[in-house]
C-alpha cells in the first residue's frame, strides 16, 4: 500500500494520480458503449450476458433492425431530419451571422442576444415551447416531420451562428471592402471573396448540426406525430425499459457508426479546406476550443 502511495506521489514530472484519473475516466466513458455494441452481436436474446456472436439482430431474421419497420423507420427518420437540418440551417445560420456581425446598429446587438437564448434554454423548455407554438399558433404546420425539422433548425442555428461569427470576426471587414474597391458589387464581394474563406467554418457547422440533430431527443419526441415519425433516440427511449431484444442495441450501434463515419469524413474535408485556406494548427484543438 505504501509503495503504491509512493508511486502515485511521484515528485518529479507528471503527477501520476492525474494520469490515472484521466485513464480511468476515458475507460469509464468508452467501455459501456463497447459492451453495448458487443451485445448487439449476441447470438441469443439477452442484452446482459454474452451468448456467442452473430449479426442476426442487424438483418436476416424477423425482429432484426433491417426487418422491423419501426426500427428501420426510426433510423430513416433520424437521417432525414439531420439532412434537412444541415441543408437548411447552415446557409441560414451563416446569413444570420453575417447579418449580426456586419450590420452596425443597436438592433444587431439585440438580435445577437436573442439568437443565443436557445443555448441557455433547457431542451425541455424548448420542446414544450415549440409544442405549444405548433399546437396553438402555427396550426397549419402539422406535427411529424415538418414540425420536427423546424424544431431542429431552431435550436441548431445558434451553433452555426457562433462558429461562423467567430470566423467572420477573425477575417475582418477589410476583405470585402477591398473586393468592393476593386469593382465588385456587395453580393459579388461576399460570394467571391468571403465565402471561400468561410468554407472551413461552414463544414464545422455542418458537422455540429448533424451531430446535434442526430442526438436530439426531447424536441423530436415532443413534436412527433406518432410512432411513424419517431427518431432513433425516441425509439430507444420507448423500447429500452420494455422487453427489448439486442436489435435495439444493433439500431443504436448502427446509428453510432453512421454518425461517426460522417463526422470523420466531414472532419477530413474540413482539414483539407483549412489547409487550402492557409490556416495552421491541429484541427481537434481548435474545434474543442
Amino acid at each position: 500500500m505504501s509503495r503504491l502511495r509512493h508511486w502515485l506521489e511521484n515528485p518529479w514530472g507528471t503527477p501520476r494520480w492525474l494520469r490515472l484519473t484521466t485513464i480511468v475516466y476515458l475507460v469509464w466513458s468508452i467501455v459501456p458503449l463497447l459492451i453495448a455494441i458487443r451485445f448487439s452481436f449476441n447470438e441469443g436474446r439477452s442484452r446482459s450476458t454474452a451468448q456467442g456472436w452473430s449479426t442476426r439482430w442487424y438483418w436476416g431474421t424477423p425482429g432484426s433492425v433491417w426487418e422491423d419497420p419501426d426500427l428501420l423507420g426510426s433510423l430513416r427518420q433520424s437521417l432525414k431530419l439531420a439532412f434537412i437540418a444541415v441543408v437548411v440551417t447552415v446557409p441560414l445560420g451563416a446569413a444570420l451571422a453575417l447579418g449580426v456581425t456586419r450590420w452596425r446598429s443597436r438592433a444587431a446587438g439585440a438580435a445577437r442576444t436573442v439568437s443565443l437564448i436557445p443555448l441557455i434554454t433547457p431542451e425541455i423548455v424548448m420542446g414544450v415551447s415549440l409544442l405549444l407554438v405548433f399546437a396553438n399558433l402555427l396550426t397549419f404546420i402539422p406535427f411529424g416531420t415538418p414540425a420536427q425539422a423546424i424544431g431542429h433548425i431552431t435550436f441548431s442555428i445558434t451553433f452555426v451562428m457562433i462558429i461562423v461569427r467567430g470566423r467572420l470576426l477573425s477575417i475582418g471587414a477589410e476583405i470585402e471592402q477591398a473586393a468592393q474597391d476593386l469593382g465588385a458589387t456587395p453580393l459579388q464581394a461576399v460570394r467571391m471573396a468571403l465565402l471561400p474563406m468561410l468554407v472551413p467554418a461552414l463544414i464545422a457547422s455542418a458537422i455540429m448540426v448533424f451531430a446535434i440533430s442526430m442526438d436530439d431527443f426531447v424536441v423530436s419526441a415532443f413534436l412527433s406525430s406518432g410512432s411513424g415519425t419517431d427518431t432513433v433516440p425516441v425509439r430507444i427511449y420507448s423500447n429500452a425499459r420494455g422487453a427489448p431484444t439486442p436489435a435495439l442495441n444493433a439500431l443504436a450501434s448502427l446509428t453510432l457508426a453512421i454518425t461517426l463515419v460522417i463526422a470523420v469524413v466531414a472532419f477530413a474535408l474540413w482539414q483539407v479546406a483549412r489547409r487550402r485556406g492557409g490556416q495552421s494548427g491541429t484541427g481537434v484543438e481548435e474545434l474543442a476550443a
Binding site: 442484452r47 446482459s48 438580435a111 436573442v114 433547457p122 432513433v232
Partner: protein, 271 residues
Amino acid sequence: MLCVAFGYVDPILGIPRPVWNPLQWDGGAFSFVLDGLFSRGGSFQRVFLRTIAYVFVAIALSLAIAYPVAYYVARFGGRWKGLLLAGLVAPFFISYLMRMLAWINLLQDEGWVNTALRRVGLVDQPVNWLDGRASSVVIGLVYGYVPFMILPLYAFLDRIDAALIEAARDLGASPFQAFRMVTLPLSIPAILSGVVIIALPMFGDYYTPDLLSGSPNTSMIGNQINLYIRGGQQVPVGAALVIVLMAFLTLLMSWYLVATARAQRALEVPE
C-alpha cells in the same frame, strides 16, 4: 438576408406568448403549481427539492472528475494530446440515449455490474439498480453530462500561461501550493461556466430518471413537466411549471453572471 434571418428568430421570441395568454385568463393552473411548490410538503416542492439535490450531487461529482482530467490533458497531454482530445470529444457524437442504453445493459439484474460486484464479494444478492434508485439516476446524470463540462474547462486551462506556474514554483511554492494559489483562482470563471453548462440541461432532464429508474420516487421537475404536457388535459399546469423552472434558471444565470464578474474583478486587481 436579414429578413430571412429575423423571420427565423421570431418564433423564439414568440415562445412565451402562447404560454402566457391562457395563464392571464385563468390563474388556476399557476396558483395550483405555486401552491404545490410553497405549501408545506406540497407535491411539487418535494420534486423540486429532489431535482436540486440530484443536480447538486451530480455537479459536484462531475467537477471532481472533469477538473483533474481537463487539467491533465491541458498541462501534461504532450504528444498524446490529439488522441486524448479525440477521446474527450467522442461522446458529443454519440447519442445521449445510446449512452443511457449502455448503462441499462450493464445495470440489469443479471448485468455485468452485478456480476462483477458479486464476484468481488461486495454483495450477495443482485442489486435492483434500475428500480427507483437515486444513485443510478445520479450516476446516469454524471455519465451523461461530464463531457460537456470537461471541454470548456480544458479550453480554459489550456490557455493558462505555464510560466505563471513555473514562477510560483521558483518562488518556493510546492506543486500543490502553486496549484492552489495560481491555477485554481485563475480557473474559477471556467469552473463557473462548466457548472452552468451542465446545470441547465440537467434541470430539464427527464429521460435519465425515466430510463434508469422509472419510479415516481426519483422523478425530477422535467418528469412532471413531461407528464402534464404530454398527459393531455392539464397542459396549463405543465406550462406553469415550465415558467417556474425558467424563473429559477434565470436566477441561476444572474447568479452566474454576478459571480463571474466578481471573479474577473478579483483577477484584475492583484493584492
